[in-house]
Symmetry: D2
Subunit: 291 residues, 4 copies
C-alpha cells in the first residue's frame, strides 16, 4: 500500500508495517509496566506535612511494612509535593490513549470515501444516510485521547504545590486523575474491539498504490538514475517525467523506458521491491508481540 | 462536490458552500473588531495596586485623558487582576488562527492523493520525491493554530492573579501573548497567500460525487420513498438497495428504478437539485464579503 | 488593608475594593448573559451536512420556527463546523470559574497563618490537627477552575472540524462541554456559600498595614518629597530611610519627621488618606450590584 | 519552621527538609539523564515514509553507523510517527521547569510581607515603592514553568500523526520543542542564581512556629493525650483547648499543663523534638547531592 506523508502518496509500504507502527508504542507501554510499578507506585505515609512526626520513632519501618503489605514501593521518604510519580503513571495512560488515537486517526483516513483501503466490519450506521459506514470507533479513540490530553495538562498544572500540601493543587489532581485513567481505559476497550473489525482491502490498496500512473515510484526512479547521472540531473529528469505524466496521463514507467532504455526498470516499478524494510518491520513486530 | 461527515460521503454540497463555511467565522471576526476595540482595548493607569493613590485627586480625569490621547477605552476603574479584556483580545486572535486552521485542515484532506478535489498551485516540492505536491501551507495553518491554542491555554492559566498583582501570572502573560498574536498573524499571512493558490478540480469533484454508483443520493431516495411508504419501510428499502449496490457494483439509481418504477427519480439523482441551500449559502457569503 | 503585589505590601487599599475586584468580572458576566443568549444560543437544524437538503423547500422557515419554539436564535444558516458559538458559551462558564478562583486564591492567601486578615466561618477541620481551619472552599474554587480550564482547552482543540462534520472533534466536544458547565456551576455553588462565611478581620488588617514601621507609606512619602525635591533625589532619600528603618527598627514616619521637619507628614502616614479611589471603587461596585 | 498545608501552620518541619523537597525531584532528573539518553536520544534515518527503501540493502547498518558516529541510540527501526521519544525528552525538561517552579512558589510565599521567613539578597526593586523587595526570580520561575507546560501540551497534541508523516503535527512539534527547551534552560539559569540569594531568617521562622501560643503543637498534644485517653476524647480535649486559646490568647502549653498536670509536656512543646524525620531528610538529601 502507499505510505502517505502530508496526505500525499510518498513511497510504498505494507499494511503490516502500518500496523507495526500502531503497535510498537503500545507494546513498549506493556513492557514498561514493571518499571512503572517500581518507579511510581509508591506508598505515601508520612504524616500531615511529610515529616512522619506523629508516626513515632519507627515511622520508617511502619512505612516500609505498609508498602510490603500493599504491594507498593517505599520511596524511603515523604513525597507530598513531588507529583512526579503521579505524572509518570498519568504519562503511561496518556501514552496508551495516544497510541490508540494514532490507530484511530489512520483508520479514519483509510476508510474515507475515495480511499477505502480499510473497511470496518460493523461500522456505525447513520440515522438517515443508509449508504454510510461511519468510522465511529476510530472517532471515539481520537476524542478520548483529546480528553485524556486535557486531563494530562490539568495534572501538570496541579503538580506545583505551595508549601507542604496545597489544597487547590491536591483537589485539582483528584478531579483530573480519574477521568484520565477512565478515558484511557475506555479507549483500550474501544480499540480492542476495533482491532477485530479491521478489514484491509488489499486490491484497493494495490490499485491506489499504482494510481494508474505509477508516480509513487518517482523517488526510486530518481535514485536508480542517480547511479548513472549526477544526482541533480537525475532528480530534474524525473521531475520532468512526472510533469509530463501529469499532463498526458501516461505511466511514469513507460516514459522512463522511453528516455532511459538501457536502465533496468523492473525493480524500480515493482512495489514488492520498493517497500524497503516494511516486511521485516511487520514480522519483527509480530514476533515481539508473540514473545 | 460531496460533503463528508466522519470522512464519509454524506450528501451533495458545493465548493462555494465549503468556502463559505471557512469564511463566515473569519468575516464575523472582522465585523467584531469595533466591538472588541470598545470592550477590550482599555487604558491601564491606576497605580501599583489599582487604587490610583499616587495619581492625585484628578486620577480619574488623568486616566480618561490618557485613554482619549491613545485612542483606547477608559473602563472607569483599575483592572489589574481582571485579565478578561486581555483574554477577549486573545480569543479574537485564537478565533482567527482556528478559522484558518479549518481551511488548512480541509485543504489537507481535499488535496490527498486519491481525493484530489483541490489542487494547490505552487504546493511544496519534496526534497526527494519528485511527484509530490505537499500541502505545506495548509499544514502550517494547522500547526500555527496548535501553537496559538497552547498560548491561549497559557493565558487562561495566567488569568488568576493572587493579590493586587501577581508576578508569576503577570510574567506568564508576557510570555504567552506575543507568540499568540504573532502566530495568528503568521497564519493570516500564510492563509492569504494560500487562498490565491486554491484550484478546485470541478471534474474530479463531480466524478467523486457520483462515485460510479450514486450512493450519495441514498438519503434523498429514502426521503422520496417516504412520501409513498412509511418512513421505516422507506429507510429499510434504501438500505437494502445500498447493500445490493455494494455487492453487485450496480448504480443505486438503476436499482431504485427497477423496484420503484412509478417514482420520479430524476430530481433524486440530480446532484444540482440535491445541494439544498448550498448555492444560496455561497452567494450570501459572497455578498456579505463584498458588503 | 495592605494591597499586595508580588506578595509584598505595596500601598494601602480597602477590603471593599478587594471585594469589588472579585465582583466586577462576575457582575459583567451576569450583565453579558442577554448578549450571550443572542450571540450563541443558536438553533441547529440544517441536515447531515449543513445544506438542509432533506428539509425540503421551506427549510429556512422550518429552522426559524423551531428557533422561535425553543427560545433560541436562528443564525440564518448551518453552523456545523463553526464551533464559535459553543466556545462563546464555554468562555462564559470559564469566566465564571476564573472569577470565583480569583476570590478563592485571595482567600487562601488572606487566611494563611501569619496573615489571617480574613477568617472563614466554618472552615474545614483537619482530621488530626485540631488547631487548623483549612480554607477548603477556596481550594475547591481553585481546583474547579483548573478542571474548567482543562475542558476549555479541550473544546478549543475540538473546534477545528475536518469536512462537514468531524466525528473525533464532535465526540471530543461532547466529552468536554458537560464537565466544563458542571465544574463552573459547582464553583458557583461553592462560591455562593463561601461568601457568607467571609469574616474580614479589621484589626489584623490595620495592624498588618502599619507593620509596626509604616513602610507601606514609602511611595506616598516619596511623592510628597518630590513636591520639594527633584524626583530622583526624593526617591533616593526615601530608599535611604527605608533601609535605616530596616536596620534600626524605627518607624519610617519618625525618620521622615527627623529629616524633613517642614513637611506636613500627617496625610502621608494616614492610611485612610492613602487609599486612593479604593472606597469609591467599593461603593460603585455595591451600587452596581444593587442596580 | 512551620510546615504549611492549605497555607495553614500544620506541624513543625525544618528549612533543610523544605530545601530537600525542592531538591529531590531535581536530583532525580539529574540521575535520570543517562537512562533518558539511552531511551530517547534516537537516530532517525529511515527515509521519507519510514521504510528505508531509498537507503539500499544496508539501510540498517547505515543507521547503526550513523547512530554511533553521532553518539545516539539506534532504536532498530523507523519511528516517524511515534513521538514517544520526543515526549520523554520534553518530560525531562518539563520536570526541570516544574521542580524549579516549586522552589519559586515556596519562595514567593516565604518572602510575603507578614511571613518573611526567607529574604532574597538582591531581590527586585520596585520602580516607585522604595520599601519593596519583589521576589522577581521566584515569579520568573513560576511563569517559565507555565510557558513550558503550555508547550508540553502542544507537543502532546502534535504527537498523533496521520499517515506516515503528518505535516501539521510535524510543524507543530517544531514550534513547541524549542521554547520548551529554552524555557526550561532559562528557568535553570534563574534558579541557579536564585539559590545563592536565599537567606533563611531563622529567628522569624522560630517566632512564627510558636506563634505566641504554640498551637502548632496541637497534633502532638493530641497524640500524647491519646496514650492516656481514648483517641476521640484526646482529640476533643485538644480541640477544646485550642478554642480556649483562641478566645483568651493563652498559650496552649499552659492550658494543657493546667488540665493534664501529670503529662510530660516538655517533648510535646519542644519544636526540635516535633520535627519527625525532617533533619534526617535534609541530611540524606545533602549526602545524596554530594554523592
Amino acid at each position: 500500500m502507499a505510505a502517505r506523508t502530508y496526505g500525499q502518496h510518498a513511497t510504498p509500504t505494507s499494511f503490516g508495517a502500518v500496523v507495526a507502527a500502531w503497535g510498537w508504542p503500545l507494546l513498549e507501554l506493556s513492557r514498561g509496566l514493571p518499571a512503572l510499578r517500581e518507579g511510581a507506585l509508591f506508598v505515601s505515609l508520612s504524616g500531615a506535612a511529610g515529616t512522619s512526626s506523629a508516626l513515632g520513632p519507627k515511622a520508617a519501618e511502619t512505612r516500609a511494612g505498609l508498602a510490603r503489605a500493599l504491594g507498593l514501593q517505599d520511596p524511603g521518604r515523604g513525597w507530598h509535593t513531588d507529583r512526579g510519580p503521579v505524572l509518570r503513571i498519568a504519562d503511561w495512560f496518556a501514552g496508551l490513549a495516544r497510541g490508540l488515537a494514532k490507530m484511530g486517526a489512520d483508520l479514519g483516513d483509510l476508510t474515507m470515501t475515495g480511499i477505502a483501503e480499510v473497511r470496518l466490519a460493523g461500522a456505525g450506521a447513520s440515522s438517515t444516510m443508509p449508504q454510510k459506514q461511519n468510522p465511529v470507533a476510530p472517532s471515539a479513540l481520537v476524542a478520548l485521547n483529546a480528553q485524556v490530553q486535557a486531563q494530562r495538562a490539568a495534572l501538570e498544572a496541579a503538580a506545583v504545590h505551595r508549601g507542604q500540601r496545597d489544597g487547590g493543587a491536591w483537589f485539582a489532581e483528584w478531579l483530573a486523575l480519574p477521568p484520565l485513567v477512565l478515558g484511557s481505559a475506555a479507549a483500550l476497550g474501544v480499540g480492542r474491539a476495533l482491532v477485530d473489525a479491521i478489514r484491509p482491502e488489499a486490491e484497493t490498496m494495490a490499485r491506489a498504490l499504482d494510481g494508474g500512473q505509477g508516480l509513487i515510484h518517482a523517488e526510486a526512479l530518481s535514485f536508480a538514475l542517480a547511479a548513472a547521472l549526477p544526482r541533480p540531473e537525475a532528480q530534474a529528469a524525473v521531475k520532468r517525467l512526472c510533469a509530463e505524466a501529469g499532463d498526458s496521463g501516461a505511466r511514469l514507467g513507460d516514459l522512463a523506458a522511453r528516455d532511459f532504455p538501457d536502465l533496468d526498470l523492473a525493480p524500480v516499478f515493482d512495489p514488492a521491491r520498493q517497500m524497503g524494510d516494511a516486511p521485516e518491520t511487520a514480522r519483527a513486530f509480530a514476533a515481539a508481540v508473540k514473545g
